[in-house]
């Protein structure tokens, strides 16, 4: 069968990204032809600034060399501008007469620099800053002439000015506004920026309006409205860009400050799609790469005839690519009516931070000097997190970001040697990351993770990896999709899937995959465990657990070790034990030749090096001695750590051990979004370390403080105080309600610490503390789900269930 024909007009980043996504999704669907009006194959336009500054070469920023097109059978025409689309005959024609037929047409014509309509704008020596030819003209001028004038104090203008200065020119930046980057920065931050750039030798003429560019054939000077004049051998027009819609308009496609597209990136002609800077989506034309790549992903999905993705707009943030200058801005950073501002300013250190709040949510941010927390602020904005409970600390950033002794400034990260370890979990050095980004043309954090494993484990170095990515590949890769799909098998987010399960009575895994149009026949190792949990949480009394969708630890009810053996942790209620239990453990350890016996951090005993085949027999002995599974291996309620409390301790205020036992009896056996640890301390000395647990109780003379959202792991996070109660019965009810709320709301594999930060403590307080009726309902739902959950999996398996899991099919030897 003959393939459909796809023609791409515009050989730039957005269009080519769409093709790459398309080839991944449907490699054989189309015969593809690409037209580009520049002589080069696709290159990274964002990196023109570093090329101008002499920090990179043109070869280094080529994204798809000509071989790439050839290897994939794509016909590439460079240096040919499409001048006509015949929508009836479905052909496009280039300026030299080259023509191509299409079944689908993809327009990615980008944008054009806006040229001020002043006399002299067409003189030699007046250039834009848009493509390789412009950069080449600037570099050539820098070798010959002295005076450069950049018109426009926006991102592009400042990057051009910086590059020309580094190439030895005397550079003046002319800006009509009151301060630089007036669309990205407020005045105080812009003043700091100006000081820094002046220290680099740049000159600024603010509130100046250009009236005329003067010269015979080549430019000689620039004259302003106020009558003043400065000499110029080179003028760079960087006053803005306009979507390049000329071709689309000539073909009669509806344009309104961009080619108008719907959420599937389709234009008013259903055979014609458009992506990138030339597009107007819901009235917005985007100029940053992250939203354009998201458009590319959605458009490719439709070109591949999968037909499920939607582009719903992006939230964007800004970074400036001038080495040694760190600034970040996002959202509404100017403030105004109904908005509140939190400001930090340290002129001596050149640091400035402003956060803008609206209705207890972060609405915008400007950071200057130290931008490492930009990604976090951006996330808070995107998630609409209620920040009222940590408002006093908000300005100081996510204090645990970028730990492992790396320091906290971007410039320091980029100054690190290539050998510096960035990801401690996977032993990945800075040089490895940069090499992978360059060699494999990586653009997103996920891609860097896939190739290098950097930040793919604990994630604490994510900020560092993002910084390296931004500095190596370009400026604005803080991807901000309007929602994040659960995994590559679906377009739907965690929350959408959970809602669909409940609203549509989906009760089995295959039902969910079918109903939600899963792209893979049976999901993947990421989505199946999540779906299994969501189903189990939604239908606790009906759902038939799917063992094959569980990670091995939960299937085999032990912790797999690096040699394939398992470890076993029997449950000791509240951390209490006795000689009979200890004897039973000792007997089991000897009988099954346990290689190592260790006391865990959670006050339990761990038996290491057990062969999988021995597990059922070992459990049988433990079961006979009264033990049940400690669930130390699962995304489940773990143990309750306790101190001795008022029964023995001279400082104890309440019976912390007894309360710990009661809590553990209530909570054990529950499957959770992630592991869930509890502790009870008998007094504020807090020997049980309750303030770094998911749920911690600190006893005081007058009652019990309840703390939530703590974590003692990779990112140490101290709990937030949920509330204080007076009786043990209340502790149990609040605990049950909190657990159930977390079970029903958190994303799979999201610990309470990030969950509390994402949805905000205020929200949890409203549902669990302030609304007593809701609290009781939550606690009741937890009790219902606990009935089928509190069956000891070890005893079942010791009795012969799931035998195939523990025995070889056959032994040939």
């Amino acid at each position: 069968m003959e393939k459909m024909k796809l023609v791409l007009v515009g050989n730039g980043m957005a269009g080519m990204r769409t093709l790459e996504e398309l080839l991944r999704a449907a490699p054989d669907l189309y015969d593809i032809t690409v037209f580009g009006d520049e002589p080069q194959p696709n290159y990274n336009r964002i990196m023109l600034s570093p090329v101008l500054a002499g920090e990179q070469t043109i070869e280094q920023i080529i994204l798809n060399p000509r071989d790439w097109y050839a290897e994939r059978g794509i016909t590439l025409y460079t240096g040919k501008r499409i001048v006509k689309i015949d929508r009836k005959r479905r052909t496009v024609t280039a300026d030299d007469g080259t023509a191509a037929d299409y079944d689908r047409l993809l327009l990615a014509t980008g944008s054009k620099p806006f040229v001020l309509p002043v006399p002299g704008a067409n003189l030699a020596g007046v250039v834009g800053f848009r493509d390789i030819a412009d950069v080449a003209a600037m570099i050539a001028a820098a070798g010959q002439y002295q005076n450069a004038v950049v018109i426009g104090g926006g991102l592009l203008g400042l990057e051009a000015a910086n590059g020309l200065k580094l190439r030895g020119m005397d550079v003046s930046v002319v800006h009509i506004g009151d301060w630089l980057l007036d669309r990205q920065l407020d005045e105080p931050a812009a003043r700091l920026l100006q000081q820094n750039l002046e220290a680099k030798g740049l000159k600024f003429l603010l509130q100046k309006q250009t009236q005329e560019i003067i010269g015979e054939q080549r430019v000689q000077s620039v004259r302003f409205k106020d009558g003043s004049e400065i000499p110029a051998d080179l003028v760079v027009m960087a006053v803005g860009i306009r979507p390049n819609t000329q071709l689309a308009e000539s073909a009669g496609l509806h344009c309104n400050r961009g080619i108008v597209v719907n959420d599937t990136l389709q234009t008013y002609d259903p055979r014609i799609y458009a992506v990138g800077e030339c597009v107007s989506h819901r009235g917005i034309a985007y100029g940053l790469v992250a939203p354009l790549f998201e458009q590319a992903r959605v458009c490719a999905n439709h070109l591949a005839e999968h037909g499920v993705a939607r582009y719903q707009g992006s939230m964007t943030s800004t970074k400036l690519k001038v080495t040694g200058i760190d600034l970040f801005s996002a959202g509404n950073f100017m403030g105004g009516e109904g908005l509140e501002e939190i400001v930090f300013q340290d002129v001596g250190r050149g640091a400035y931070k402003k956060l803008v709040l609206k209705d207890d949510q972060l609405a915008g941010a400007v950071l200057y000097g130290d931008t490492l927390d930009g990604a976090w602020y951006f996330e808070l904005m995107r998630e609409h997190t209620d920040v009222s409970d940590f408002r006093d600390r908000l300005l100081f950033g996510r204090s645990h970001l970028g730990d492992s002794g790396h320091g906290d400034e971007k410039s320091r990260i980029m100054a690190l040697p290539d050998k510096a370890e960035i990801c401690g979990c996977n032993g990945v050095c800075k040089g490895d990351i940069i090499k992978a980004i360059r060699e494999h043309k990586l653009f997103t954090l996920d891609e860097v993770r896939a190739h290098t494993k950097a930040s793919a484990s604990c994630g604490s170095c994510t900020g560092l990896v993002e910084t390296i990515l931004a500095a190596t590949a370009g400026g604005d890769y803080s991807v901000a999709p309007s929602k994040k799909p659960l995994c590559g098998c679906t377009e739907y987010s965690h929350d959408e899937i959970r809602d669909a399960i409940r609203q549509n009575n989906l009760k089995t895994l295959p039902d969910v995959l079918r109903f939600m149009n899963w792209k893979t026949p049976d999901g993947c190792a990421k989505c199946r465990p999540a779906l299994n949990y969501y189903l189990l949480c939604a239908w606790p009394t009906e759902y038939q657990d799917d063992a094959q969708s569980r990670y091995i630890n939960e299937r085999a009810h032990g912790n797999i070790q690096k040699d394939g053996s398992f470890s076993v942790v029997p449950r000791m209620w509240g951390g209490l034990t006795n000689p009979k239990e200890l004897r039973a453990i000792a007997d089991v350890a000897e009988k099954f030749k346990v290689a190592e016996v260790k006391v865990t951090g959670a006050q339990r005993i761990d038996l290491f090096g057990v062969n999988k085949a021995d597990l059922p027999a070992l459990w049988k002995d433990l079961s006979a001695a009264g033990f049940v599974s400690g669930h130390a291996y699962g995304k489940a309620t773990r143990t309750v750590k306790t101190c001795v409390g008022s029964q023995w301790c001279r400082f104890g205020t309440q019976d912390s051990t007894g309360l710990g036992v009661k809590l553990e009896k209530m909570a054990w056996g529950s499957w959770m979004p992630h592991k869930f640890k509890l502790a009870v301390s008998g007094c504020p000395r807090n020997c049980a370390e309750a303030t770094i647990k998911d749920f911690g109780v600190v006893c005081v003379d007058s009652g019990y403080e309840l703390h939530v959202g703590g974590n003692g792991g990779i990112k140490v996070r101290v709990t937030d105080l949920l509330t204080k109660v007076e009786s043990e019965a209340q502790v149990l009810e609040f605990c049950a309600a909190f657990i159930q709320f977390y079970r029903e709301q958190a994303h799979y594999l999201e610990r309470t610490a990030p969950w509390v930060e994402r949805i905000g403590l205020a929200h949890i307080k409203a549902k669990v503390v302030e609304d007593a009726a809701n609290r009781r309902t939550l606690a009741e739902r937890f009790a219902i789900s606990q009935k089928p959950a509190q069956v000891d999996p070890w005893k079942e398996r010791a009795g012969g269930e799931q035998k195939h899991e523990f025995t070889p099919l056959v032994a040939l030897a």
């Binding site: 049976d522 190792a525 063992a547 094959q548 969708s549 569980r550 797999i560 195939h804 070889p808 030897a813």
Partner: protein, 112 residues
Amino acid sequence: MNENWIQVGRVEDIPRQGARIIKTSTGDIALFRTVDDEIFALRDQCPHQGGPLSQGIVHGKKVACPLHDWKIALDTGLAVAPDIGCAARYPVRVADGVVSLALTPKSSAGST
């Protein structure tokens, strides 16, 4: 081919989307059953750090190693890009629901 086929069990002895182990004198072999009831055999060792592939989650024609989540293609034994490595494959055939295995690994590119 002069392969010696050994009958090792029935298709339904292996859980769908799961695996069983075959013990041999030279180490374990993992026998996988996909959601479509296709059967594959690989040496039960991840090319990365030797993790037991039989313990991983089977999805499509791939298994995710339980130790570090490498994905290994069941039909080729190759690690899914960008990871690089290969687990030895063994010939398998199914007749009347009975699974037979040959103990001579198939030669495949990059096999060790």
